[in-house]
Symmetry: C2
Subunit: 355 residues, 2 copies
């Protein structure tokens, strides 16, 4: 048993692993592997239908929105969003809160004008800028809800007159959001949705079909929506495991319940970081992420020994991203609070040993 604090692809519930493993041998008692069934079988169409239904139900997606499962990760969405929503003579507004937001900006520039309304880059993205204005004529305003590398999170989404587009890759399904406030939400699966290889897009239908350019079919949200996530062969297994994981979330009580657990997990670890004299957080307190908790040591010389100490306890994935250093404890939905307690205990034991 490992305590997997990896930033993603990340831990999923053990029961999901068991069900997925079984389906690779025999899917739904068909006598066939989930890997050898046609995506056009009623059995797999039921998987896609249930996956879409679970996304809608768990997030409370209102009428007028479509949900599709695509390939290419959030990185392909960086291009698909402007391709589908931004005419070349228009400008889109972006909030620069980290490397991923920055990449989204870069890709959007190929399709229209980009107005970066604010950036925290000068302070290594340790906070979320809040003092900015979004031009009323922007085609949309793009934000990143959680910044995996730096450990910051938008705890309050901006109110804008223009459609809000959000990369929710690393905190979707971790807390309630009001989908009606968004024009488009996208998320790579590999944190709180399922395994790598599939991306969820939730889009307000009325925003589509308005750009002048002709779109490649695979990159056209309308084509993908009409195809019901099966314009071409979908990533069958990744969608199936996502369905299992969303079923698990529903069985736990849905987002209301996981929200409480995530709050408790984050509270416990931040309390220890703030209490334990050996450690300190790296971000502005009000912008601290509940998914990725970044911290360093007051004495950097302790960092290697502490990492070794935790690894010996089967606590893994704790090394911080090179652009921040120190440690990052990623605590997605499936990480049990017992793992957090194990880490806190390790921090205390290490402090005790190094008094």
């Amino acid at each position: 048993m490992k305590y997997n604090f990896g930033a993603g692809p990340c831990i999923l519930p053990q029961e999901v692993f068991k069900q997925a493993s079984q389906a690779v041998l025999n899917f739904n008692d068909t006598g066939l592997s989930i890997l050898e069934i046609s995506h056009r079988t009623p059995e797999f169409e039921a998987v896609v239908d249930e996956s879409v239904r679970l996304v809608k139900e768990l997030l409370g997606v209102p009428e007028g929105y479509s949900v599709v499962f695509l390939q290419g990760g959030a990185s392909l969405q960086f291009s698909m969003v402007p391709m589908n929503l931004l005419n070349s003579d228009q400008a889109a507004a972006y909030l620069d809160t980290g490397v991923w937001a920055n990449k989204a900006v870069k890709e959007a520039k190929l399709f229209g004008n980009v107005n970066v309304v604010a950036s925290s880059k000068a302070e290594n993205y340790t906070y979320i800028p809040k003092d900015y204005e979004v031009p009323a004529d922007a085609a949309y305003f793009h934000v990143t809800s959680n910044n995996t590398i730096y450990g910051t999170e938008l705890h309050k989404f901006p109110e804008t007159a223009v459609p809000l587009v959000c990369d929710m890759s690393s905190d979707i399904f971790s807390r309630p959001v009001n989908v009606a406030d968004f024009g488009l939400i996208y998320a790579g699966a590999q944190k709180n949705i399922g395994p790598a290889g599939v991306t969820v897009v939730i889009v307000k239908d009325e925003l589509l079909g308005k750009v002048d350019r002709k779109l490649p079919s695979m990159l056209d949200y309308q084509v993908q929506i009409e195809g019901g996530s099966m314009y071409n062969t979908p990533p069958v297994f990744s969608i199936y495991v996502s369905m299992l994981n969303l079923r698990w979330l529903k069985s736990k009580g849905g987002i209301a319940e996981i929200d409480k657990e995530n709050a408790a997990k984050a509270r416990a670890l931040y309390e220890e970081i703030d209490r334990n004299p050996l450690f300190k957080g790296t971000c502005k307190v009000e912008d601290r992420s509940r998914m990725n908790i970044c911290f360093v040591m007051e004495n950097p010389e302790f960092e290697k020994p502490f990492l070794k100490f935790t690894e010996d306890l089967d606590i893994i994935g704790l090394k911080g991203h090179r652009s921040v250093g120190g440690f990052r404890a990623s605590m997605y939905n499936a990480l049990p609070i017992t793992s957090v307690h194990r880490l806190i205990e390790a921090m205390q034991d290490f402090a005790e040993k190094n008094k």
Copy 2:
């Protein structure tokens, strides 16, 4: 035990299913699921390295070519090929041998001029056109090596002065090809490579970097090559299972050996189709595919009863595509010859019962 003749996603070797199932619980004795490991771990980097190495070794990919694993299926390649290889003032030549070739043509038109040098559409794609000329100034010539829906296959690749681009989705790794004859080869995994959700691209490096347009990073072969198939989070599980399947192919003796098996399987079934008075093939004999064997019944009224008859024997996936009708026996690498014998026996038994 089912006899899975499905057109794809399709049967893979039983031992691959077993290994994949095990890795979902415990990958390489890491104590972690293959679904929860970071793609940046040495363990997964080894998987990508081995997968690339196996593609190169099994196909005999020469120096000067890169191999990458991408997302989006062949359908996204329909756009990526012209985006990367065709300037807007140039023309590319295409051979229209079926619905998929046709879709490739449609997507290419967004990026430059398209010259369809020949088409068998008027005869419902029952043969491969051979009498055509490829303009010497074409940016490339695009062909589809095997046409899943119609059951035709290019048994001899055209010799051209321009780079040959080939969609090999449904017969890659089924027979020897001389990669040096191609500028670019692409293939969705879900036939002879692995599970759906990953696409293999083999490209001659010197063809890249020559178009004028700016490319979205995710759609730029050079970016993907530089990223070593990990510009962003790759479809971890689909790559892993592809590696297992390529290992299996290598252990069987590689393409030389599977080529013989595929020949024997196809010969046996075509012989029965040609011998049994109830059945007839749908394609020109010289262009018959070894992967997808399409046939109908002399008396169409027998088709429903025959399908029912086979399904009762656990022979599945035999229904022909609606645009051809009748039956399609897909016989990819992993389909054992015993399954073919079972089908032939069923054809004979049915004929006996309906004399």
